[in-house]
């Protein structure tokens, strides 16, 4: 009962069968898109709040920004984008019915997720060791809030990827039915998308 697929536009189901390539539905389940939009909204408000709070105390923000490890941030950007690329390869693979390839690509993306988490954890460790907390000043409040909130999204994305990998490995997806892969992929790309704004905003722009 729970696996029954509901299609918003009944005629579209036929279109999908015909594999009309130009106009498709959203990749993945609609429910994840509501979630994605809500998360992007929350992050968006935080980004803008950061910028306007900075306007109130530019010196403090610039000075505190200097203490961040920009290299770690840049490496993490490369890592996350590459993992996104792997996820995309996985989606392409399953669209061609290659279950094992899909699982391998997702596994590679998951590993890079682990690298991101490792680097980020080292960054957090350095900051905490320096006695920096959410209450140190408004720059660190935003830096920690934004990166930690994002960090949790990476962890959640990894859990989702792990579930998708397990199912893909068992051959649970196919050329015709791979909404689950697309759903997980969409979430992972969102995590990437948010970091693409977060990195220049918090680490670079001054």
């Amino acid at each position: 009962m729970n696996t029954q697929v509901l299609v918003i536009d009944p005629a579209a189901g036929l279109a999908r069968e015909a594999r009309a390539p130009r106009e498709e539905g959203l990749p993945g389940d609609f429910a994840i898109w509501i979630f994605i939009l809500a998360e992007m909204l929350a992050f968006g408000v935080l980004f803008v709040a950061y910028a306007f709070t900075r306007a109130g105390d530019v010196e403090l923000f610039n000075a505190s920004q200097e203490t961040l490890n920009r290299t770690a941030g840049a490496i993490n950007t490369l890592v996350l984008i590459t993992s996104s690329y792997f996820v995309m390869r996985a989606v392409t693979a399953i669209k061609h019915g290659l279950s094992k390839d899909c699982a391998w690509w997702l596994g590679a993306a998951l590993m890079l997720g682990g690298v991101f988490v490792g680097i980020k954890a080292m960054e957090f460790h350095d900051k905490f060791a320096a006695g920096i907390t959410l209450s140190t000043n408004s720059f660190y409040m935003f830096y920690l809030a934004l990166t930690f909130f994002h960090f949790m999204h990476v962890l959640m994305g990894m859990i989702i990827l792990a579930f998708v990998i397990a199912k893909a490995w068992r051959g649970g997806y196919s050329r015709q039915d791979h909404v689950g892969v697309e759903t997980g992929a969409s979430f992972w790309h969102m995590v990437d998308l948010l970091w693409i704004i977060l990195f220049p905003l918090v680490y670079v722009i001054r």
Binding site: A31, A49, F142
Partner: protein, 458 residues
Amino acid sequence: MQYQSQAVAKPYFIAAIGLFVGQILFGLIMGLQYVIGDFLFPAIPFNVARMVHTNLLIVWLLFGFMGASYFLVPEETETELFSPKLAIITFWVFLVAGALTVLGYLLVPYSTLAEMTGNNILATMGREFLEQPLITKIGIVIVALSFLFNITMTLLKGRKTSISLVLTLGLLGLAVFFLFSFYNPVNLVKDKYYWWWVVHLWVEGVWELILGAILAFVLIKVTGVDREVIEKWLYVIITMTLITGIIGTGHHYYWIGAPEYWQWWGSIFSALEPIPFFMMTVFAFNMVSRRRREHPNKAAVLWALGTGVLAFLGAGVWGFLHTLAPVNYYTHGTQLTAAHGHLAFYGAYVAVVLTMISYAMPILRGRAANSEKAQNMEKLAFWLMSISMLVITLLLTGAGIVQIWLQRISPTPMGFMAVQDQVSIFYWLREGTGVVFLIGLVIYISSFFVKGGAKAAA
């Protein structure tokens, strides 16, 4: 009535309405004390009236939730209730405990009551909404556990629908978060911090799961829209509720000594809290317009739509109005808070319980819907109560704005009591509107006693 054991819901609903009347009467007493300060003093001081007013509200809503669950769960799970007898015992225990507690409030000085009921063993009393004596609190836990046991056992032996799962999850959360009412550290900041784990995580968290489940159930029944559609939207709405509402707790942590970053977390996430309420309104109207059947119970449909709109206004709009930290700095703890509290509780929880009662009570009395005449009375009552509550909210908002201006923004701030005199006109009008609300309530109750012309059971 499809299952015999659904009948146990009836006493719960009757008790709920009875206590509702009590709540309104004490509300009117308080409203009068706002303008005639010594009214009923020293027989019923304001703090006692308020305690009765708010505690009756909580208790009758709990009766409503339980009655709703006992009606809803057998039908959803397609099986008789695990133990109707336990449900009846629980009912009487809860009613007697509730009545004794209220009598305790009214007849014994609060400090004496505290001493009599073991507050020296574990001090939990004297905090807003959690004024109940220790033994009552323990009683509430026992009642909640036996109720949850009954519901869960029923769920386990029957069909597991999303609606019944969400409802049970909400009820479980209700019981779990109530446990924080037993934690009362001397450190006032911690006391307040965890006090909100009961109050906020109830009304802006788990209670909304209960609300959503009840509303979804009634919408399925009265519109005939596919369960699959309604249930997936239920999930989407409660997801939005929790992802905004949990961190949204931060909007209570601005000025109580908690770290200042809560001003950001609280503002941002609680600013998103209207979204699920808006979705709920759209959802309710959408389902009704897509209806596949004309249910004879038009009054229930009206209540269901009303819940959506009023919850959005009360919890969503009036909540948003003062949730941003820079605004809340000025509005915190003023009549504006009272305004929001009234419309939010009425629009979300009173309305959803009355929606369920409106749908279920005719069925419990052996008919699909009440007579045309009775329904018209009920609809009139809906409009009277809803509009007067909206007017009360507007009046309290007016009082709040003047209060904020004179007491907090003005370069020559006035003292609290002086300001209260300035806004008394709002309080007089509020009291008058409260009487209209009571009239609406009387008409509502009378609608149950209209004879004749009942529609046959479907």
